[in-house]
Amino acid sequence: MYQSITNYKGGRYFWVATILSLASALAYYMHQPINSANGGTWLGYTLGTIGALLIVWLMLLGVRKRSYSSNMGTVQGWTSAHVYLGTALLLIATLHCGLQFGSNIHTLAYVLMVIVILSGFFGIYTYIRYPNLMTSNRSGETLDGLLEQIQKIDDRCIKDAKGANLSELIESAVLGCSIGGSWWQQLRSSDTSTMQLPGGPKGKSVENKNQERIITVLAERLSQTQNSTESGLIQSLLANFAAKQTLLSRIRRDVQIRGLLKVWLYFHVPLSFGLLAALSVHIIVVFYYW
């Protein structure tokens, strides 16, 4: 009932792509070029045309994906075709140029194309690998939900802190807590949390990675305090920070996975526009110099 893009409709587009590739390869083998295979032979022009059309079509996925009332097949179908035909393109373009490279715009176009396709391969990898991990990590929660829980924990902590007159300490820890951040931090799920040590120099904050520092500090407090109510509060603070600890790690992992699922697109898409430009120049030049 459910089909992944790789075996969509029994891998329909896998076969399309395979047949296309085989046909091209066969033609390439049968072909007797004047001296060696290249873009200038009839086969070269044919493969080139196919390749160029493919590239344009592949890029149209971005439009189709967003033309929501379109009846041109399903987006899944398009994606599946996108994956397989994109892979076939690698072969077709290579046969098109007959492995004749140089330091020129034509080879630039080829190189861009290869990078785009490779980044796409990474995309497929993430699409296959991460969804399961993401769900198992979130285990039914939503990211917003998790963040709300953090919010609540923070509120409780601050409330308790008032009672145990630790407000300064706790607030610094709460404010210093880092989640996500720059795209690099998100992908590395880095934790740059900080806090203010009690009595420490103003504005001078120490790192509080994984909330461990604050927990140790609280633990010390607990061992020193005699006041029962205060110790009760500190205990609940400890409990809350412990809970927060686990929540944070889940959130960071979730943010990281979401990032991995998306980040490749930030290369895939711009590069394909570069490719589009290079391709246009390539075509113009080819006909300018016939």
Binding site: Q32, P33, I34, N35, S36, N38, G39, G40, Q100, G102, S103, N104, I105, H106, L108, L143, D144, L147, Q151, I179, G180, G181, S182, W183, Q186, I251, V255, R258, G259, K262, V263, L265, Y266, V269, P270, L271, F273, G274, L276, A277, A278, S280, V281, I284, V285, V286, F287, Y288, Y289, W290
Partner: protein
């Protein structure tokens, strides 16, 4: 509901909230590449010196459009990296006259004014001579070049030609193609007309039909190539092929054989054992007769005067030669004691039995038109048996001659010792066959732009003249090398 652009909290937890973007990098790359590789190069098309400055700058110029190097012969300053040298106008293929501006001398494959072949219509220099491609070769090597037309001349639009259809070369081809490479024909010289005016015509004959060469030369290869050698003035001499047959300067064909260089060491033209240093000249029979008469007249005077006669005396004596009337002459010549008689008998000896006869066909002419009744049939040796192919002896030098030319077993000069197709195919095969032989394309043996090649083969007059010139040259050398006496003008 869930909106990626709306932060789910003050934290940045999705890439959409970070500095990452798809749009501006896309624009940057798109516009950047267009600017660098389209706009700037386009500017270099506007003015010559802007182009040169750009080409020498790190900035991309229209050189960034070059899809590949030029072939070595074209890598000259005027052309190399100088696009507009050949690509004169944009969106226009390179025109023939652009090529011809340098290659004006090139012949067509055939006279296009006489024959219009649809197949070749619209074909340009550049349709065969491809540039900017690997491998860097400007000359087409592929079979299609020839096969396109020659596989079916009728279909090509060349009616009633005696050109044979060829669509392949090599064993496998032969098995599944309809017109494989035919066995070889040779262009052989044949005498026509009278002894006095002999015209030599080139005749194409199939080697298969064991042609007989009518060069009028008498030469048994086997006698000369006996391993123990042949008698030479200095004793036994063992002959190799290259004792006589030497590469021409190009190293492709063989230099013409001539009497002086190749025969005269052994075949001396002595006619009197007493005078081994006296030879008759190689060439015109009349001169031979004169030489003999002059010699014996001198002997005669020596006896009469008891001293060496002066040239003047000899001249005068010779003017007293009898024979105002024929019977008087005959009677004179019968008399062997007379120098004339002696000369005649010696002449008869060398013309009909020894010296000349060894190598030459001799015929008798009693018409009295000439001083000598013996005539030597003229000789032409075929210098280029296979003018339509481009065989290179030099590149085959590692083979011994016998592997192609079975000279040792040839006892007559009329044998044609050219090898036929199978001989080549023992090493060569078609370009796309899988025999473990040397794949060879048409161009391997045949040229396209043959020098002065008229349509459908056969050398032009000029080619013919060359052959004759070559021969005359060889004549004159022989004359130069022999002692001569200018013929006395008859009273």
């Amino acid at each position: 509901m869930a909106d990626p652009n709306k932060p789910s909290s003050e934290y940045k937890v999705s890439l959409e909230q970070t500095s990452l973007s798809k749009r501006w990098p896309s624009w940057l790359l798109f516009v950047g590449i267009l600017a660098l590789f389209l706009i700037i190069p386009l500017m270099s098309l506007t003015s010559k010196d802007l182009a040169t400055t750009l080409r020498n700058s790190p900035l991309p110029s229209d050189n960034s459009w070059i899809s590949g190097d030029l072939s070595p012969p074209h890598q000259i300053p005027d052309l190399n990296k100088n696009c507009d040298a050949c690509h004169v106008n944009g969106f226009e293929v390179v025109q023939d006259n652009t090529c011809l501006s340098c290659h004006a001398a090139t012949n067509h494959h055939f006279d296009i004014n006489k024959h219009d072949v649809e197949k070749l219509e619209g074909s340009r220099c550049a349709s065969c001579h491809l540039e900017h491609e690997k491998p860097l070769q400007i000359v087409r090597q592929d079979d299609q070049l020839c096969i396109n037309c020659h596989s079916d001349m009728a279909e090509t639009g060349v009616a009633n030609t005696d050109l044979i259809d060829v669509d392949s070369f090599g064993k496998e081809q032969r098995s599944n193609r309809k017109s494989p490479h035919p066995s070889f024909k040779v262009s052989m010289l044949e005498p026509e007309g009278t002894l006095d005016q002999t015209a030599w015509k080139i005749k194409r004959v199939e080697l298969a039909s064991n042609p007989v060469e009518k060069s009028n030369l008498v030469f048994p290869h086997d006698k000369h190539l006996v391993p123990e050698g042949i008698d030479a003035p200095e004793g036994q001499r063992v002959l190799q092929c290259n004792s006589c047959h030497l590469n021409d300067d190009a190293g492709k064909l063989m230099q013409p054989i001539n009497m002086v260089n190749h025969c005269s060491d052994c075949h001396t033209m002595v006619f009197d054992e007493q005078a081994p240093d006296r030879v008759v000249p190689h060439g015109d029979p009349d001169t031979v007769i004169l030489t003999l008469e002059e010699y014996y007249s001198r002997q005669y005077l020596l006896a009469e005067l008891g001293r060496e006669p002066t040239p003047q005396e000899v001249k005068e004596f010779m003017l007293r030669r009898p024979g105002k009337t024929v019977d008087r002459r005959v009677e004179q010549t019968q008399n062997l004691a007379s120098p004339w008689g002696k000369a005649m008998s010696i002449a008869e000896e060398i013309f009909e039995r020894t010296t000349c006869k060894t190598c030459h066909e001799i015929s008798i002419d009693d018409s009295g038109k000439h001083l000598s009744k013996w005539r030597v049939n003229p000789i032409r040796l075929t210098t280029n048996w296979m003018p339509k192919s481009d065989f290179d002896h030099f590149s085959h030098k590692t083979f011994n001659c016998a592997s192609c030319h079975s000279a040792t077993s040839s006892d007559s000069a009329s044998d044609v010792l050219m090898p036929d197709l199978p001989n080549c195919e023992s090493c060569h095969t078609g370009s796309r066959t899988h025999e473990s032989k040397l794949p060879t394309t048409c161009i391997g043996c045949h040229d396209f732009h043959l020098p002065e090649q008229k349509p459908w083969g056969g050398p032009t007059e000029s080619a013919m003249n060359k052959i004759n010139r070559a021969h005359d040259a060889h004549q004159s050398t022989t004359l130069a090398n022999s002692q001569t006496i200018s013929a006395p003008s008859s009273p």
